[in-house]
């Protein structure tokens, strides 16, 4: 097993390296660039362009830019003021030494930018997925054991609708209903806030305030997940409860509850757990619609803005972190599956 893990990790490193080259090429070769002036002036003055190119390191050929991004430029001479004369070594260390460069937009280190947004995304997405799983599991179980009942059919319809309803529309409707229309009977203000992680005038941690701000974003984001997981668990459960060992357990005289949970659910959950492991990258990537609608300062918004403005360092960092999280979560899913299901073994 250890050799298997080691082998996979080495493959991961190789894959990430190859991906980094591919992503770097794609990001840079796509039309448009950070110097096309997204700002209100529609264009950047030509005199400013040379200066910015030098400050962003875009005046070098692409392979050199990639090399500097990877290993830095503190080992080579750079011309810092554009006068043609080398002025000493550069200051960048490269991502292999943990320096992801600085954002073209804010001039802050990329890791700082990500560090400000990532906890918010993990916080929201983890709670969304948790709520989704907690709701989906009972729904999935009941749908399976009461197959084709009214509950099952209505939940099936609901899950198709849930996957089909655009998140964006749903979120706007929720804001309209709970923020614009419904009023809080105690304070007279809106029933739920329109967005944000906390109320502005609260300092410190207020659990009630946090929960109130989570309700709508989690509702919007979780709907699709609930639909997806409950369907999955339903079919997984259906597979399991028709197995021989379930019939044996019932024949042994075990209670229905015991049969369903200890023997049925435990096995039915295995594929769900691995599915969850595969969904882990969403913790890092976030959901663009939810974050935009509910003004949640998260990774998806950061990435979207960086893409629009061609903020290459932020883009590359988010892409590489995203790629790493997907590859590693796949590995985790494989390992979990082997751990939970003794019939699976790797060499």
């Amino acid at each position: 097993m250890t050799t298997y893990i080691l082998r996979r990790l080495i493959q991961t490193a190789g894959l990430l390296f190859f991906l980094s080259i591919l992503l770097f090429a794609l990001v840079n070769l796509a039309p448009g660039g950070p110097l096309s002036g997204q700002g209100q002036s529609r264009h950047i003055d030509p005199d400013k362009v040379e200066l910015l190119k030098r400050q962003f390191g875009l005046d070098k050929p692409l392979p050199t830019q990639y090399l500097i991004w990877l290993v830095g430029n503190d080992w080579m001479q750079v011309d810092k003021d554009g006068d043609g004369v080398m002025d000493g070594n550069g200051t960048r260390l490269g991502i292999l030494r943990g320096d992801f460069g600085f954002s073209f937009r804010t001039r802050q280190p990329v890791l700082t930018e990500i560090g400000q947004r990532l906890p918010n995304t993990i916080y929201l997405t983890a709670i969304t997925i948790l709520v989704a799983v907690l709701v989906a599991i009972p729904i999935g179980i009941i749908s399976a054991i009461r197959q084709y009942s009214v509950f099952d059919i209505s939940v099936t319809t609901f899950s198709f609708a849930g996957q089909a309803i655009p998140e964006f529309w749903l979120g706007l409707i929720l804001i309209l209903v709970f923020y614009a229309w419904l009023k809080n009977p105690f304070t007279g203000g809106p029933l739920l806030p329109s967005g944000g992680m906390t109320s502005i005038d609260i300092s410190g941690f207020d659990l009630g305030d946090r929960i109130v701000h989570l309700i709508l974003p989690v509702l919007t984001g979780a709907l699709g997940w609930i639909a997806w997981y409950s369907r999955f668990l339903r079919s997984s459960m259906l597979d399991v409860i028709h197995q021989d060992y379930i019939r044996t357990a019932r024949a042994k005289g075990l209670s229905n509850w015991n049969v369903l949970t200890r023997h049925g659910l435990r096995n039915a959950l295995i594929p769900l757990v691995t599915l969850l492991a595969l969904d882990l990258p969403y913790l890092f990537g976030g959901a663009i619609f939810v974050e935009t609608l509910f003004a949640w300062p998260g990774m998806a918004r950061l990435y979207y803005q960086a893409a629009l403005e061609r903020d290459y360092p932020v883009l590359m960092a988010v892409l590489i972190i995203g790629a790493a999280s997907i590859i590693l979560s796949n590995l985790l899913a494989d390992l979990l599956y082997a751990y939970l299901d003794p019939r699976i073994r790797y060499e």
């Binding site: 039309p31 448009g32 660039g33 110097l35 096309s36 997204q38 700002g39 209100q40 529609r42 264009h43 950047i44 003055d45 030509p46 400013k48 200066l51 030098r54 400050q55 810092k80 003021d81 554009g82 006068d83 600085f102 954002s103 937009r105 804010t106 001039r107 947004r117 009972p138 706007l172 804001i175 309209l176 923020y179 614009a180 809080n184 009977p185 304070t187 203000g189 739920l192 806030p193 329109s194 967005g195 944000g196 992680m197 502005i200 005038d201 609260i202 207020d206 009630g208 305030d209 929960i211 109130v212 309700i215 229905n256 974050e291 935009t292 003004a295 300062p297 918004r301 950061l302 629009l308």
Partner: protein, 567 residues
């Protein structure tokens, strides 16, 4: 076990919601007793407080709350002193011209009663520090006019002289206006450089407000600067700037009273807010952004209009016909909800208003012009071809690309489609493309469509800030600006008389400038390298309780935040 767990759970959720709503603290609509507080909503986090670096508009918005320049521009285009005691002019001896050498020296006298929030006085040292940081070749930035400055000399603690190597007409806003403010020499770290210093994210204030908190991506909090030099101002104790990316949510917040000011309100939102008793919309007295059609006078894919002229657009009659076939009034009414004003020349803003007669919407005249120019539809397919035209091969089909950018939104896309329809009726076939602004305006080396000449006709909006169009005209119409990545003359247009006039307007003689500008207006009217169509509105929606908000085409709406009051 046969119970369907529907109703009880639903009831439970409802009860839980009600219970939690009791936990919810009072929202920000009722300010605490004795303090006044407002909320501004914007869609994006400002990258920093330094607009010179990024120029997104949001940076300038927050900068205007905390920092001052030597001067600033009001909504009517008048420059007024901020840190300066008075504006330097030729009359008061502040501006000394050397006509023979073609140089000038501008002496600024500063106010002596302005302090930074930590009590340090704002002095000429800060101005010189700002200048030196901007011109640093490694870590600096760029502002208009900076290349004309030869040196900045300190005279005493509150006066300095800026020596220009040529006549620069924008000297009044050299260290002020929309983008430039004075940075504190004792607080900013010069070694970090103007482009990246930390004081652009943790600014030291000398303006009406002080930054007290910034939660990245979420909100910024500003409190009243007790040391502000204007007595009794600002009237507002606290400003919260909240980042709300979605337009509908911002509008709902305005209507609900949870937001007091929305920036750059668009026409559809203005129309929706009309008639609402608790929301007002401030419009700028004059408009800046002119929606215009750019003609590529060089063949698509090339950048030399002399060697490879455009087979269709290089004929002036074609450009005139296109202009005559576009119904600007309908566009304004239907797609811009009546908020767009026709503009057919660059010179419609004070003080350079030139008397150019408004072109008529006359589709028949347009058709006649095209016939005369040798473009006729002989095969009956609705699209004209070259039949004896002067600029293309016989049989060349009158078909072109028509591009615009996506970020403006639906009104512009509808306008583009409508124009294509009108020109289609005329017999010109247009293939529509909507691209990201980033691709449209990128450098030619980055695949930029306009810089590389890869277009036929474009439509988008631009306009100059402040009162001085000189640099704007140079960037769009000068021959030197036609070289890819050296300017924005992607029409690749040139006119010798215009070039001469352009050189001549770099003078402080206002009478001559006015005359020369109007001569330039006449040339542009004759040759039509660009078709100005209409100006889009510059508006900011605000709650009725927030007073003295004045939208400005020359600056962000916070330019006069010190004067805001609450009813």
């Amino acid at each position: 076990m046969n119970r369907v767990p529907g109703k009880p759970i639903f009831l439970l959720i409802l009860i839980a919601l009600l219970a939690l709503s009791g936990c919810q603290p009072k929202s920000g609509t009722t300010p605490a007793l004795g303090s006044s507080s407002i909320v501004i909503v914007i869609p994006e986090d400002p990258p920093s407080f330094n607009p010179i670096v990024t120029d997104t508009g949001y940076d300038a918005l927050v900068m205007e709350l905390v920092m001052l320049g030597l001067s600033d521009v009001d909504a009517n285009g008048n420059v007024f002193p901020e840190l300066a005691a008075e504006l330097p002019t030729v009359e008061n001896g502040g501006v000394v011209l050397d006509e023979d050498a073609g140089t000038m020296a501008v002496t600024w006298k500063m106010r002596e009663d302005v302090q930074w929030a930590d009590g340090t006085p704002v002095t000429a040292d800060d101005v010189i520090f700002t200048y030196e940081s901007i011109v640093d070749p490694e870590l600096g930035g760029w502002i208009p006019g900076i290349d004309y400055i030869e040196s900045v000399e300190k005279i005493d603690d509150y006066s300095l002289t800026v020596n220009y190597a040529s006549i620069y007409t924008g000297y009044l806003t050299q260290f002020g206006g929309e983008q430039v403010v004075i940075w504190p020499t004792h607080y900013c770290d010069a070694s970090q450089g103007f482009a990246a210093w930390d004081c652009a994210r943790q600014p030291l204030s000398n303006g009406p407000f002080v930054l007290s908190e910034w939660v990245n991506g979420d909100h910024m909090t500003f409190t009243k600067n007790e040391k502000f030099f204007e007595e009794g101002k600002p009237a507002i104790d606290k400003i919260t700037v909240r980042i709300i990316p979605d337009t509908s949510v911002r509008k709902t917040m305005l209507l609900n009273g949870d937001a007091d000011l929305d920036m750059w309100t668009t026409e559809p939102m203005i129309a929706e807010l009309e008639g609402q008793p608790n929301v007002l919309v401030s419009q700028s007295p004059e408009n800046r952004w002119v929606m215009r059609i750019f003609f590529n006078l060089a063949a698509k894919g090339t950048t030399d209009s002399v060697a490879t002229p455009h087979p269709i657009l290089s004929d002036l009659r074609v450009r005139q016909a296109i202009r005559a076939a576009i119904d600007v009034d309908t566009i304004s009414k239907e797609f811009f909800l009546g908020y767009a004003k026709p503009a057919w020349t660059e010179f419609f803003r004070e003080p350079y208003v030139c008397n150019i007669p408004r072109p008529e919407f006359d589709p028949e005249k347009a058709a006649a012009l095209l016939d005369e120019a040798g473009w006729k539809d002989t095969d009956g397919d609705g699209v004209r071809e070259c039949r004896g035209c002067a600029t293309a091969e016989e049989g060349y089909v009158m078909e072109m690309d028509f591009n615009t950018y996506s970020e403006f939104g639906e009104p512009l896309e509808l306008t583009q489609q409508y124009i294509a329809e009108q020109l289609g009726k005329l017999g010109i076939k247009l293939n529509l493309k909507v691209v990201e602004g980033s691709i449209l305006w990128a450098a030619s080396t980055d695949g930029g469509i306009e810089q590389s000449g890869n277009f036929d006709m474009d439509i988008w909006d631009d306009g100059y800030a402040g009162v001085d169009p000189t640099d704007f005209l140079y960037q769009y119409y000068a021959v030197a600006s036609a070289e890819p990545d050296f300017g924005y003359n992607f029409m690749r247009w040139s006119n010798d008389e215009f070039e001469t006039l352009l050189e001549g307007v770099y003078t402080l003689d206002e009478t001559q400038r006015k005359q020369d500008f109007c001569k330039m207006a006449a040339i542009l009217e004759e040759e039509l390298p660009i078709l100005p169509l209409f100006t889009a509105v510059n508006a900011d929606a605000h709650s009725a309780r927030l007073q003295n908000v004045q939208s400005s085409a020359n600056d962000l709406v916070t330019w006069n935040s010190a004067d805001w009051t609450l009813k």
